[in-house]
Subunit: 440 residues, 4 copies
């Protein structure tokens, strides 16, 4: 494996990212190195054996995450701009996720059947690509805008996989009766603000990204929607509140559930959140720091859309739409990633409620992703980018529900108000929680 | 099985229907008899053996449809109002579809494992219930409003199953290499209007039912939405246009498809619409009148959402939202079921384009249900009714897409502008087609 | 559908049957008519709807049995000997069971998706073929031996399907919560002889058919085997004995079960024989005559090989090998189908223990098929016939276990001492029971 | 993890092994160390990541093999004889394979979901147990016979898993498009003797183990069987011969196949042996030494029973019974593991034909396991041992076929003439081949 980054050219290319971008070569190179280094720190506590596990088709081995994010830069940054390929030809096949335009893919559900290249070899691949990219950036005073855009997209892509590495290894470790811990972590108890309903008059509001700084294509274009008046909860639902739902027979009563949710409850035998473990009268919770008794005041985490929706119905409330959420989040929050007081480190063990904004809304960011009742679809006028990067977001707009905010496992600087995360309604392994709303 | 309808009382009950209702006993009894009779006419050409078939879990045997719609009246009309049960106790279990509040249900996917009660016995059950209901209605000069509402709901429910009987028997017959015909039908060729784009300025529009006449709960409440400007096609996509998509390799090119759609295409081996049968260079189509060469100008039928969406993408257009469709349909159409010139008979063999409205839009009703890009969800402020009838619509609001208009298999008088039909994105056996839209 | 049997020729053909055959045309025509008529009498109590059911992939609809046995005669008797085809060309595809040499087959597990040809049409097909065959036979004073052999094989084939019709409709009716009865039947209680062990010295014994009268190819050739000394039970295991196994926790204790059997018990949730229905402390049993309390002294019926083997292990005994069974059965039995005192009618509702032979062994025939520990394989020197009929038996010699004797649902005259019936170890829907053995 | 082997007692225990055993403490300790060391040498070339893979439910991760064989000694040797447990309590659950008598088992098909204990930790567990066992043995001049028997059984068990480690890692590596090699190996071409048929008169012969030296319970008791005269091939079928079968359309012609085999061929899409990779006109073969062109004269390897049986039928021959094989193998062979000239090292890359015996039969041992037509069942008079070790063999006697001889991956000293290996008829990942036979 040899790279010749000094012969790379800054060819123009399409991009799925939008808004002003950093084109200063040194600054971009530093940002690149910082984001990539966070992946290394996530992997540091793991053993090689851990990095092979694929505990379900929706999850991927750590090995694969590390290689795939690197493949992204090799494919979309280096391939057209460098004379020599950086890596083995087979990597194009092994580490392509879902880009049909780029070529065939090794079957997703079989990623856990591979042990080679080993973790050590994958880390070598990362270093080779990083050297090539950093050299490419540093060689330019001003980086070509199309290159800068695809670098920025690649870094956001890396951050998405950083959160997935944490949720995937958590799910894998939870299969093991030894319940291994990823990190040592001790946290004090969490305080929950009193529940309050924040009112909004609705009307015609703007929604989506203006495009003046980086965002994904699915946040575009900004457009108008009409909102009827509504109320939204000032904080996320707590473990204690959710436990009441369980004790009230919530998992046994079909009246609370969507029809597809009830079928899932019965087929999968759900009786509590995925990482809760019954201990006598109460529950322990498996976390990335091992098993601990649940903290009643902490936000309830790792719920599917089906569970969030059932809880909301049982509460005689509902989930907010994504337009409602975005409207409420318009007011600056101390945790707002755009406010300058952003979250500066991963705290993936225990989510807290965060600091309330002036209007009293807490936990918008850095706690848990919040399910909305909105099916994930295109905004009016949405057009995916040309070429392979057009596959980034648009083709998943079916049978998924939008989550808003960000979680304690989201990488620093990755969240924003218009961000649209999405998962299927039965997905439980993400850091997901509930913020209630109601019509008035 | 004995009924004592003369002892029935008109107890008040909740209802999922809304709007003014007919409370004149004689008129309601006549309407009841008319709607029920259409079911008989659908079944008339069938053999007893045909009525047992369940060709897939989503379909039901004709036996079951006939009994279930009768169970609906027995359960929601007669049970609380009559002294003696009309039918065998086991029918409550056998013919309950999905009302958990009412009791357990015989497993849906096993409905095709039953031969008893036979068709003859089921028809006897229908007559017993009909006698009881008609007597109940005729005994009252003015029917209690709550009773009138549940009768009206039951009749609309019967009409929904009338269309399902046609689509289910079509699917069952298509499994048989003998390709049996349900009816003898001869049709001349169909003319397609030239494709034109109708423009709309959008803005804040009203959507949903006002509740001044019967509608389902999912059409309520009327509310405001904001539409960006858009265009919509004056007619449905034709067989010839869809064949171009096939010949252009549409079913082999993942770029046109949603990710979940592409997975379905590959797993199910789709290469053309479900009822098209390759004959040399062209195609035959299996219809309820047997196999015939496809008519190039007729609307293309029996497409899934995935296929409709892929075709739209290939056409550089998109599917309309349900709000867009409803806005365009505001202008009266000659086929409008509310216009007085409504469809007076089932014509389930060959859909046509219908007669254009003043503004040139054709085929809104009585042709094919039209996929919208809108995921099926609750309108702002939606509340399901209390009790068992609350299960009618709300619990299906997940992973389904809304269809608008009506089809050549929809019962006379059943369609309306605010009607929300819905199916999963892979459903192909309904009379479904494509109307294109685009943003401007 | 027209047949021209008078132009048929008696062409020579290969055959899977062996031994002397009846070649007198009138006698063979009478035998043909008698055997075929028994199928009609089995179907007589059924409704058309019943004849469509396929309750599991291993079972077939009655419609199909009636047509397939007819197809057998059309294909192997008439096709080469008559000028004109008797039936629709599509029947070759629809009613071929597994003869790859003859052509493709409609998928077995989808036989229950067909309603056409209807039962009435299938009965017409039977009459047309019967007319042609009977005419063919009556036109000859002496029937060509190859024709006589294939007729004899076809009649034995028909008899096999007669038993399958009874077991398949029993399984189908058992899915229906109404538990329909096939026949009205009232039986007195059954007496069980006291359990005794019959000893045998073993040594070199002959096994298999000599070929001097009709037998299937899988009973050939006669050959020698060596038996170590053994003992065999004088009668079948009773319901009361089997209930003790249940009450002793037999279905919950893996030590009694083969590994594959234990996996099946857990996956399928077995806790008792397939047609036993828990009623308070005891059990009812579903029979072709409806549900009745179990008779403690009657032979326990409808057990899989796994259950028979587990019961034997729990009893500190074992199942006999097929060589042991055949050796014990050498002594004439009053129920022996070859003794002249054979069973003259189907008695498929309640098996009894039958009449003991001189040496005290009862229930060899006409009660329940008896599982042996012998895997179904070829005898030394076995050669399947040439041509399509070579597919009759040989290709199933894998992962099946041999059953010996005959059952209360076996057609009169069909059983014999060397007969090898076979089913997979998880099959429960046949009339199968347990005769114990042990080594000494 | 601490062990206190010096406090262990030599308690008596039941055992599934038979025959005279070594009871000299020093000698047994040395044999123990030698056999255990071979496992280490098999694992030496592997990376930690490799040891996690489970490529199908029938295979297990190398981690698991290493731990499970150790668990066997801990459970059946140390648990009753030592004061303190050697390992973590959870290991009893994690590394129990199928001993229901000992306790619950972690689900077999999920073994590949675990990464902890890591390979390093498992190797530590091995060392702790080895220290305890060796101390236990060395502390005794003469080892209690029951202890000696269970040690001998545990070592044979270890050897069985040594072969499985090789076949499981081969299967896992074959999933990887990089086709990793386990070892570097270069072999010259293989010579095939000319095909000859060895005749045997049959008659009453003895079969099974006399019990005068170690054997498994399933080889007992010795008993008599009668053999009709037969012939057997002097060598195994070659790659060239098998390629002829392929080129003759063998995988496309149902007439050659058992019914269950043909279903498997079609469902799995088999067109050649599992590790053959089409290269233009010919084939490469994936081996533990990487991919190489097939050697036409070498024995064809990695066939299922279905393939072996189909090839035999196409050859107008058949597979031998296990009694026939054992009879032919009675004459001493140069490769005979009991002859003193036994195989002294694993040669798992390329099987050869071995050295012929005086009567000209080659390849009985050390080449490929040879499928017999015999279903795996109990010998007359077979009794499984009491207690947990009774689960060793008997409960698998269903739907499996017996293989005889041994393979190039069988551990030195493990083979013998009466050895009964067994796998299901669709198993392809073992070192299995074909020796033909025929009746005369």
């Amino acid at each position: 494996m040899s790279s010749t980054p000094d012969t790379c050219e800054s060819a123009a290319g399409s991009s799925a990212s939008h808004g002003d971008v950093v084109t200063d070569g040194q600054a971009l190179a530093k940002r690149y190195a910082d984001v990539r280094a966070l992946s290394d720190s996530i992997v540091a506590p793991l053993q090689p054996e851990d990095c092979v596990l694929q505990s379900m088709p929706d999850a991927s081995p750590i090995r694969w995450h590390l290689a795939h994010t690197t493949w992204f830069f090799e494919t979309f940054v280096l391939a057209d701009r460098c004379d020599a390929p950086v890596a083995d030809e087979s990597f194009r096949y092994l580490f392509n996720s879902y880009y049909n335009t780029v070529g065939d893919q090794f079957p997703r559900h079989q990623r856990g059947l591979l042990s080679r290249p080993t973790v050590r070899e994958v880390m070598g691949y990362r270093r080779d690509v990083d050297d090539a990219v950093v050299t490419l950036l540093r060689n330019a005073d001003v980086v070509d805008e199309s290159l800068a855009r695809v670098i920025e997209l690649g870094l956001n892509h890396e951050q998405q996989h950083q959160e997935l590495m944490l949720t995937d290894i958590k799910h894998a470790f939870a299969q093991n009766p030894l319940y291994p811990a990823h990190v040592d972590a001790e946290c004090g108890p969490c305080d929950a603000p009193e529940l309050q309903w924040i009112s909004s008059d609705g009307g015609v509001v703007n929604m989506g990204c203006t495009g003046d700084r980086f965002c994904f294509d699915n946040e575009l274009p900004q457009h108008r929607v009409f909102l009827e008046p509504f109320q939204i909860a000032n904080r996320l639902v707590t473990n204690a509140e959710y436990q009441q739902f369980i004790e009230d027979g919530g998992y046994q009563d079909p009246r609370h559930w969507l029809s597809a949710g009830w079928a899932t409850v019965q087929q999968q035998g759900w009786t509590n959140p995925i990482y809760w473990i019954r201990q006598g009268e109460g529950f322990d919770e498996f976390t990335l720091g091992g098993c601990h008794p649940i903290d009643p005041d902490a936000p309830v985490a790792h719920l599917s859309y089906f569970e969030a929706d059932a809880f909301a119905r049982w509460s005689r409330a509902r989930l907010p739409t994504e337009a409602e959420w975005e409207t409420v989040a318009r007011e600056p929050s101390p945790d707002d990633p755009t406010s300058g007081e952003c979250i500066d480190a991963l705290r993936p063990v225990h989510p807290t409620h965060g600091t309330p904004s002036a209007s009293g809304v807490s936990g918008l960011y850095g706690t848990l992703w919040q399910w909305t009742s909105s099916s994930y679809g295109p905004y009016p006028g949405y057009t995916p980018p040309e070429g392979a990067l057009g596959e980034y977001n648009g083709k998943f707009m079916c049978n998924q529900y939008v989550l808003r905010g960000s979680s304690c496992a989201t990488s620093p600087g990755h969240a924003r108000r218009t961000y649209r995360n999405f998962f299927g309604p039965d997905a439980r392994w993400q850091f997901t929680g509930i913020r209630l709303a109601r019509s008035v």
